[in-house]
Subunit: 346 residues, 2 copies
DNA sequence: ATTAGCACTCTATTTGCAAGAGTGCTAATA
DNA sequence: TATTAGCACTCTTGCAAATAGAGTGCTAAT
């Protein structure tokens, strides 16, 4: 029982700190915990908790603040189980219903919703097609000296680029070039395509050498683009309202991290080694990336078409509402596939 | 002559204030102006300038600070003519040479360069094709129940979208639908297309009604997207280094303005009524949009293919290096077309 | 085991004071 | 007449001491 009470007090402290961002004193907890306990008793328990490494004192006469270890214990054992209210669900559903027109927009809007509900920075990583293969190349007419090269991959990604047609090549030639390229490399990945020798592609000699070069380049870029994941951010401005970012240095630090897409990818990948399912919570210095070591990250993976996966995540000060945020991300990860399907397009 | 000296002093004050962000006293000017004049004389002149509305005193015993009117006079008559050094030109040229692969990237990189050179926020508005017309629609095969709709506009914009093929429609039907739609509306703008009655499009009845709906929707969206201008931002983080944004409220204010693309468009459009050519400088409260009334904007228009136009702009505190910034934007506006051409694509 | 009481510690705020920077004015100067 | 030196005055900034407040730790009583 004595043990049990300690955790109740710890929870009360963390809950309060999450809400107020101020160090908590024994009086406050004695009042708010609802345990019918005097401040002196709370002080004793707090002293124990500090010795156990769960609490820290900014200075002797301030209240106490949860340590990393406390947050960890909190999310693992203490916090009330993540639930999301019917009301929130209804709001989210309604939000999507009118707004979404393309897959890109699903991600963008999801980022906005998460940011809005969590009051932190949200990150939505669009899925990464780890192996994508070339399906076909086709040219469409544009004008006398330009054509549109359209590349289609087997995961349904389509990209186009305008290319110049050199003199002496007519549209029929282009069609044959497209056919020849397609025949040669359909089903190949980027790596394979990089190694191919294009000489002797056509059975007859054409003056269209540079068209081939350019077309192959478009093909390659499409495949590369397809496997690159893109990160959609939300709430980057509102995060500055959080008291921990009053200090403009910290604010700038965070913002410059958010500006670097590659860094963000690394940060999120790091937490991924764990399970591929469920939520991963990384707290404070558990994260190895400088610049956000006083921040926590909650991330979850989602599926699209039951197969390819991306991530939704929230980044904010360690003092974040882990429960609420987990609930929202948990809902989103289950929901996002359905929303994507609803726009009749993958 | 007396007049002439006043302006020299005013210029010295503004130059110094732009460099230091601190109110300037008479001693400083007496030393730096190079006029061989005592502080007392400068004080008299400054007193005059204040009465004329060019200077302001934060408080009695501080130095003085340029007013909006002073900045206006400075950019109109006082500042040294904008020049950009050979060195800078070389740097910029070299920057582009390797980086740029697509038109989108030209804008993105341009924003980065401008931000880097001016140490302020840069804005690059991609061109707005005010009237764009539908050229043709084509379907490409994807799999049994999906196809790719490709729309081409007469300004060379290409967009694609995946659509579902309802049962009972085969690919040949799709081709005929595309042909019919193209015949019906080639050369039309969005407005015209919105008014068209699509019933009776096909001479025979097809079960592909929803395909037509969806295809028309894609056409419409393409035309709309083509005329929508997109804004590329640069330097949004580094601007926080400027002393005027130490105050985190101001910083947040600015950042939330920058987050709203539509607001930015409005802000830039406002200054556009003037000439279509050359540089437009909007100083402080000359700008009517709240949230950036202590900022100035320098903007210039550029041409692409000698016809469609977009904008490059710099946004920062009123205390900005108008001369340098004008020079850089002036160079960019002349340069951007050439860079775009260099990637062999419009 | 709990709690009331009290001395102690540390921060944050206020107050007063001196230094510094800059001005405005007046009288002397070229 | 324009310029300048000199000086009193004002206002900010920085610093130190004093004060109030919040919270703790310990002891003794319950």
């Amino acid at each position: 029982m004595a043990e049990e009470r300690k955790w109740q007090i710890l929870r009360a402290i963390i809950d309060d700190y999450i809400a107020t961002a101020e160090p908590i004193g024994s009086r406050t907890i004695a009042r708010k915990s609802g345990l019918g306990i005097s401040p002196a008793t709370v002080r004793n328990e707090m002293s124990d908790l500090e010795e156990m490494g769960f609490l820290e004192q900014p200075h002797t006469s301030a209240g106490r603040v949860p340590s990393l270890k406390a947050y960890r214990y909190y999310v693992d054992c203490l916090m009330s189980p993540p639930v999301i209210s019917e009301q929130d669900i209804a709001f989210i559903d309604n939000w999507y219903r009118n707004k979404v027109r393309s897959l890109e927009e699903v991600f963008q809007e999801t980022a906005k919703i998460i940011a809005r509900f969590t009051r932190n920075v949200s990150l939505v990583v669009s899925p990464q097609f780890s192996q994508c293969r070339f399906r076909y190349l086709q040219f469409l007419p544009l004008d006398d000296d330009r054509a549109i090269a359209v590349v289609v991959t087997d995961n349904g990604l389509v990209e186009n680029r305008i290319i110049n047609i050199p003199g002496g090549v007519d549209f029929a030639d282009l069609q044959r070039i497209a056919q020849a390229i397609t025949n040669r490399i359909a089903g190949q990945t980027v790596e394979a395509i990089n190694d191919i020798d294009w000489r002797g592609l056509m059975d007859c000699t054409l003056p269209g050498g540079e068209v081939i070069d350019r077309a192959v380049q478009v093909v390659r870029q499409t495949l590369l683009a397809s496997r690159r994941q893109k990160i959609h951010l939300g709430g980057t401005t509102q995060i500055l309202d959080q008291p921990e970012f009053r200090d403009s240095n910290r604010a700038r630090n965070l913002l410059s991290v958010l500006e670097e897409e590659r860094v963000l990818c690394d940060i999120l990948d790091k937490g991924n080694e764990d399970q591929g399912d469920g939520l991963i919570i990384t707290i404070g210095r558990e994260n190895k990336f400088s610049g956000i070591q006083d921040c926590s990250i909650v991330q979850a993976t989602y599926r699209l078409n039951g197969q390819t996966v991306g991530k939704v995540a929230v980044l904010g000060p360690t003092r974040m509402e882990y429960g609420r945020i987990s609930a929202i991300l948990g809902f989103m990860r289950r929901h996002i596939d359905e929303v994507a399907r609803r726009i009749g397009q993958n």
